[in-house]
Amino acid sequence: MITKRIIPCLDVKDGRVVKGVNFEGLKDMADPVEMARWYNQSGADELVFYDITASVEGRTLFTDILRRVASEIFIPLTVGGGIRTLEDFDRVLKCGADKVSVNSGAIANPDIIPAAAQKYGDQCVVLSADIKRVDGRFMLFAKGGRENTGIDALDWLERGVKNGAGELVVNSIDTDGVKNGFDLELLDAVAKRCAVPIIASGGAGCMEDFKTLFLEHPAVDAGLAASIFHTRQVDIRELKQYLRQNGVEMRL
């Protein structure tokens, strides 16, 4: 059977891996190529790279890093951050990305989803959304989680799938950085409306959080996290062994 996937996420700024807590107070972590090697050896099923650079120099540095990672690490690579146009898709795909994640770019221009799906295939287009509860409703946030778009997040994701998104990254702002477990209520709500693979993001603090996610919410396909893996608070190899012992299909 197909396995559940464990995905470390590397936020890259000016050539270094950083990870914020609740999206603020960025802290320098490590060299992205070194970290990619480490994660590949640890059994990560996939890697996600987010380019959170604003400058042109930073962007060039990012594509150089991507090319270096893709020339020595042969597991699926997803790239996001600053993807607004088909040219952006092209730029990162040529450097070895397999999937491209759109977030704010799709909010600014929703047509990017069907255009990219038609050109590169649904499997290439990952729709990533930052979601927060506002007055009891799941709302879509933009600008790294700082701005409420006023769009209902579940409607947004459903429409994205209809338009060709092949996978969803569901990032809960409410649980991100809190390390108290994934936002299971949100994930269930998304799974009810969307039939494509769902990657849960935001809130993992320990191995049990992944066990609960996969055993009790079988519609979720993958768990994504950053700082708990970067700081080795959770070791991916141990996590995967633990999950398999608990009956979750894992690649070991």
Partner: protein
């Protein structure tokens, strides 16, 4: 030299890099003479069958690939494997290269468990077909190792050439062989160390 057929479908960076990382001389080409000079040919591909077959036909390489496939090892990967078959029912009906008997059909129509998602994306275990364990493609891998799949269509009516299946409520065709012609539905160039070992075995066929 291993020639990777460049016909404008998909991203060849990882495939070329994975072969280079094994120390194998690799060329990405659409030149008929380079395919003839190669010791092995890889036919990659992502996207839709009809469009890819049209692009391959437009390069004029189809007769060259047919001739060379009789002489040297050829490996089709993902959509490149599907193109090896006689026909496909992806958005209509299209003829393939006909190098392997069988047809390509929508996975969603045949799944025994309708709650499973299509595309079939992710890592799945290789179940080597009993009696096929000694195929030289498996020289460096064991039964049950995991490989990475991304696809919505799959090959069927090809039992005689099937080397590997992976369980997705039905046995999904994972690898095939007919003479010198091999195909993998999964992506060896994205299947970590297992994939590299499969590529190394292909290079030594």
């Amino acid at each position: 030299m291993i020639a990777i057929v460049d016909y404008g479908v998909g991203n060849l960076f990882s495939l070329a890099s994975s072969l280079k990382s094994l120390g194998l001389e690799t060329e990405v080409t659409r030149d008929a003479d380079r395919l003839r000079a190669a010791s092995r040919i890889i036919l990659p591909g992502v996207g839709a069958f009809g469009d890819a077959m049209q692009k391959l036909t437009d390069t004029g390489l189809v007769p060259v690939i047919r001739e060379e496939a009789a002489r040297k090892p050829l490996l089709g990967i993902c959509l490149g494997m599907q193109l090896l078959f006689e026909e496909s029912y992806e958005y209509g009906h299209h003829a393939g290269l006909g190098l392997v008997p069988g047809k390509v059909c929508p996975l969603a129509d045949d799944l025994a468990d309708p709650t499973l998602k299509v595309p079939h994306i992710g890592w799945n275990a290789m179940d080597i077909v009993p009696g096929r364990e000694d195929d030289p493609l498996f020289r460096y891998v064991k039964n049950g190792e995991y490989v990475y799949y991304v696809h919505s269509y799959y090959a069927k009516d090809c039992a005689a050439s099937t080397l590997v299946t992976s369980e997705y409520s039905i046995p999904v065709t994972g690898a095939v062989r007919s003479g010198h012609v091999y195909g993998t539905q999964f992506h060896p160039e994205k299947s970590g160390d297992t994939g590299l070992r499969l590529l190394r075995a292909f290079a030594e066929l």
